[in-house]
Symmetry: C2
Subunit: 284 residues, 2 copies
């Protein structure tokens, strides 16, 4: 017996062909309905207002680091992290079918994508870079305007969607760039039993003794951590936020104890979600 289910609707930032749309499909399957948003903030609002079941946002690039703005967005909303995916980003140089590499004078893309292709772009003489809010939108602009002397850094899928040509493949800096995306939802799903990860954020009063005490709650119980990162608290120079990913379930007794003690000593603690650790998707 097959159960008939409504396809999940996932909100993403950008135009069709954006990397986050591809990641949403890789995570939720080919039948996934996607909903284009103009910004990561709109992604979260769309889910909060019930116009989509899930939202997907990039939070870490292996080449360029954490996307702090998106981490901050998590704090502005009451959504839960319900999943993660590590998605390989193989950038292409995309242009009109009639365009030639030698005549490309301008390259459009998202700032993170341009940053990830620093070496390749540095070798192209005399091209100017133009920043776009997403890679899909960069291809859409060149297509719409019929720009023959411009190209975009985007996915191969974006080239297909807009009937454009791939001038060069894998133009990102080595090693292979992997982006970590988080899936967000309104519900709090049951914590997974195996391969669980729990994302926590807490404030520390100072980076010397207090931070060390907070960290010791995890270290002394040998709770494996996969992320430790500080962020200044908006408007409070005497406090710092710490993002911590523990590779265990939120119902693991050790983590429960560590969190209980953390709540006693830290001015502020929030569990952002407990979910299955993301698989690393292989490229086709």
């Amino acid at each position: 017996m097959t159960k008939k289910t409504t396809p999940t609707k996932v909100a993403f930032n950008g135009r069709p062909g954006a990397w986050s749309e591809a990641a949403a499909i890789a995570f939720s399957g080919l039948g996934t309905q996607t909903s284009s948003c103009r910004s990561p903030a709109e992604v979260l609002r769309t889910v909060e207002e019930g116009k989509a079941d899930r939202g997907i946002v990039a939070v870490e690039h292996s080449l360029t680091g954490s996307v702090h703005q998106n981490y901050d967005l998590l704090l502005d909303h009451q959504l839960q992290i319900v999943g993660e995916i590590f998605f390989p980003i193989a950038h292409c140089l995309v242009a009109h079918p009639g365009a030639k590499l030698a005549s490309i004078g301008r390259i459009y893309s998202h700032p993170h994508a341009l940053e990830q292709c620093r070496t390749y772009l540095g070798r192209l003489d005399g091209v100017s870079l133009r920043l776009e809010t997403d890679t899909g939108g960069a291809v859409a602009r060149i297509k719409r305007r019929g720009l023959m002397n411009a190209a975009a850094i985007a996915s191969e899928r974006a080239a297909e969607i807009y009937d454009m040509k791939v001038l060069a493949r894998n133009v990102e800096d080595p090693p292979a760039n992997v982006t970590r995306f988080l899936l967000l939802g309104r519900d709090t799903p049951k914590p997974p039993v195996r391969r669980a990860k729990t994302s926590i954020v807490f404030a520390v009063k100072d980076l010397t003794r207090h931070f060390f005490s907070c960290l010791s709650l995890f270290a002394l119980r040998e709770i494996p951590l996969s992320k430790v990162e500080s962020r200044p608290v908006r408007g409070r120079t005497n406090q710092l936020l710490f993002y911590l990913d523990a590779d265990t379930s939120s119902v693991d007794t050790d983590l429960e104890e560590a969190l209980a003690q953390l709540r006693e000593i830290a001015p502020w603690v929030r569990v952002l979600g407990c979910y299955t650790r993301g698989k690393r998707i292989k490229m086709k």
Copy 2:
């Protein structure tokens, strides 16, 4: 007796009127010669090749976090941090003298600047955002093209330089946004005696026991830290880099001992520089 000195030449990223140029002048005085570069990477190369005495790069925004790309650049070069400055960023909406706020349809700026003005921009109906590589360049583009329906997010100084009008002031999100800039040089100056800060970067083998051991070297000696931040090591998924700022001099015995032990247990350690802790510049 006054000593006659050649003015320091400071390389910065962007066009005249960029925030980093303003920060360079605030740090080194009004007689400072500045040298415009097309990217932060070019800033570091310019100093390395001796074409400028100092380089200035933004490394942290109080609103949007660390600029990881610029931290990574420090590792690609052998320059030393010789100073820091905390500079208040009061963004303005800048347009042609004849332009009216109601007819502005497009806003150009650096992605970080746009991010910092999220609330204000969200209130402007139907405007589209265009990203530029620096705020000075955003004003220069509008000026050059004579765009009457466009504005830039930039400094008041950029408006003056290009003979443009300020349509709105302090459009950044509250609280006041402060950017931390680092001054870089080829030389290793004598460590300051008072108000010293030492920036260190080291690799850790894992985030559980090993990271805790590394951090304990500082915590047990009560060395005050003002930054602790992790970054994945490019191409090595089993190692993480930690950036650590200690609010003391590199010749402080406690810090010397901590660093000596850190070198024994960490796979890789580098002292990025010892310099006087930055003053927070007041706005005029």
